[in-house]
């Protein structure tokens, strides 16, 4: 079995006294896409925020490429190769598309990756001078993904990339994720409600309920609606 690029073990976290994540463990190898599905409020975003370091783990550990980053700040985790594309994109609305990309590059030394990224996300090239707030939801999602990738991450935490996005952009996102995992060997932890997108790109799928992983299934199982309903609700 390939060594894990990202490994979380027994994570517990929440907001104040409210416990949201309850003993969650997950690991990803290079080139692997692992999806987390579940209804709203089950702890999927909390899991990603805890892995990113935006939410402090009450217990458990997070290892990135074998290094314990449990007590490291978000910025340090990012510089060690943990990329995060949050729910709702959270691009910088008053910065231009180019400035959004530049800020993604700002913490990295060495030559700019922006030309290479624009080669991949060609539709952004015509929008470089436009402020982030003037983009459509789909364009913002592509920008958020591109901004993350200019930081050259080893792992990407991707939160609901299809939310509120037109189907043609969701197709583009699926192609990018497939390509990034196969050609760039990027590990991707994908939180998603669009089961069709999950079945197209994921290698493994965790089902989350009330802050716990209740089962792990193969993506092909998502084509069985009765089974999915059973897993999500029972």
């Amino acid at each position: 079995m390939a060594p894990a690029v990202l490994a979380a073990n027994g994570l517990v976290s929440g907001y104040g006294r409210i416990r949201i994540l309850d003993n969650v463990s997950v690991s990803l190898s290079a080139g692997e896409v692992v999806a987390v599905i579940g209804h709203n409020g089950m702890g999927k975003t909390t899991l990603l925020r805890t892995l990113a370091g935006l939410l402090k783990a009450k217990s458990g550990s997070v290892r990135l490429a074998g290094r314990d980053v449990t007590h490291h700040a978000t910025a340090v985790r990012s510089r060690l190769g943990l990329g995060y594309v949050p729910q709702g994109r959270q691009i910088f609305p008053d910065l231009t598309v180019m400035e959004n990309l530049m800020i993604g590059q700002a913490a990295r030394a060495g030559a700019s990756d922006i030309p290479g990224i624009l080669e991949r996300f060609k539709s952004l090239t015509a929008l470089l001078g436009r402020p982030g707030r003037a983009l459509s939801g789909g364009e913002q999602q592509l920008l958020a993904l591109a901004r993350c990738l200019v930081g050259r991450p080893r792992v990407v935490l991707l939160d609901e990339p299809s939310e509120g996005i037109q189907p043609s952009i969701v197709d583009q996102i699926a192609e990018h994720l497939h390509d990034l995992s196969t050609t760039q060997r990027l590990a991707i932890l994908l939180v998603e409600q669009d089961l069709e997108l999950v079945s197209r790109v994921a290698h493994r799928v965790h089902v989350m309920r009330k802050g716990r992983f209740v089962s792990e299934i193969a993506p092909r199982d998502l084509t069985n609606p009765a089974m999915v309903r059973e897993l999500l609700w029972s």
Partner: protein
């Protein structure tokens, strides 16, 4: 014609001095949302840096160069020791910086005494027809223009500025991209403090320097920044122009007291109809 030019220079000087004094706070408040009630005392420390350096035989310009460094370091220490624990807690920050303001006034009074100090105004006068205009006032106008342009360049043409603008919009996201927001906040606060120090140093030859000097400026500075709204440069320039022009025009036709009353009245009217400040109006129409 000469009279008109002299009057115009007076109005532009009033605008420039308001913008100069407000620029540091505009950055601290606009970028970080911190209401620093000790901003007036940072201006006072800048003025005293010039007074003390002149008293030790250094040239005025050396003191002016030292002032932003000295007050920038003071700002950095204040941010590390006080402000960083209070981000997001507006009232607590106001209370803490008010206490700091009183402490700085008391400390300077104890160390340097309560008497009024000063430095000579350099350059002499420029004759415009039968009128004489202080050449130093023209220097203040030019220095303000240069400082505004330089600060705009820092925030719009440098890596630090890009990150600072990003951190202002979404600090968590900046952190997720590998940048430590507290470092950016620290540098921004130090920069805003340094600008206040420089403003105090530039204004020192025009005013008597006393420990309570900041109190004379802080109200005007806050009014300008509040009326300007969220857009640091266009807001401060717009508010400075509006308020400075009104204050100097009313002062000219009556007395400086009425000028200040008119300025305050104008601020109240603007904030009544544009609670987000005048830059909020531009954003809404844009």
């Amino acid at each position: 014609m000469e009279y008109l030019i002299v009057t115009l220079i007076g109005v532009v000087f009033a605008i420039a001095s308001l913008v100069l004094l407000a620029l540091g706070l505009a950055i601290i408040y606009g970028m970080m949302g911190v209401i620093n009630l000790a901003q007036g005392e940072f201006i006072m420390l800048g003025a005293y840096t010039v007074v003390l350096s002149s008293a030790h035989g250094l040239q005025l310009w050396v003191g002016m160069a030292m002032a932003p460094v000295v007050v920038g370091v003071v700002g950095l220490v204040v941010e590390r020791c006080i402000i960083r624990f209070l981000y997001g807690r507006l009232l607590d920050t106001m209370l803490a910086t008010w206490g700091l303001s009183l402490g700085l006034i008391a400390a300077v009074t104890l160390i340097l005494g309560p008497s009024t100090e000063g430095v000579a105004t350099p350059f002499g006068h420029v004759a415009i027809g039968g009128y004489a205009v202080s050449a130093y006032n023209l220097f203040v106008i030019a220095a303000t223009g240069f400082l505004v342009a330089l600060t705009w360049g820092v925030f719009n043409r440098t890596r630090f500025g890009l990150i600072a603008r990003g951190a202002m919009q979404n600090a968590d996201m900046v952190a997720a991209l590998g940048i430590h927001p507290p470092t950016i906040y620290m540098m921004t606060f130090a920069l805003g403090s340094a600008l206040a120090g420089l403003a105090g140093a530039i204004m020192a030859p025009l005013t008597g320097v006393v420990p309570s000097l900041g109190l004379a400026f802080v109200a005007k500075v806050f009014i300008t920044v509040t009326v300007g709204g969220a857009a640091i440069f266009s807001g401060t320039l717009g508010a400075g122009t509006l308020l400075g022009a009104i204050e100097s025009a009313v002062s000219f036709i009556s007395t400086p007291i009425y000028g200040q009353v008119a300025m305050l009245g104008c601020a109240l009217v603007v904030l009544r109809f544009a609670p987000q400040g005048i830059s909020g109006l531009w954003r809404r129409s844009g």
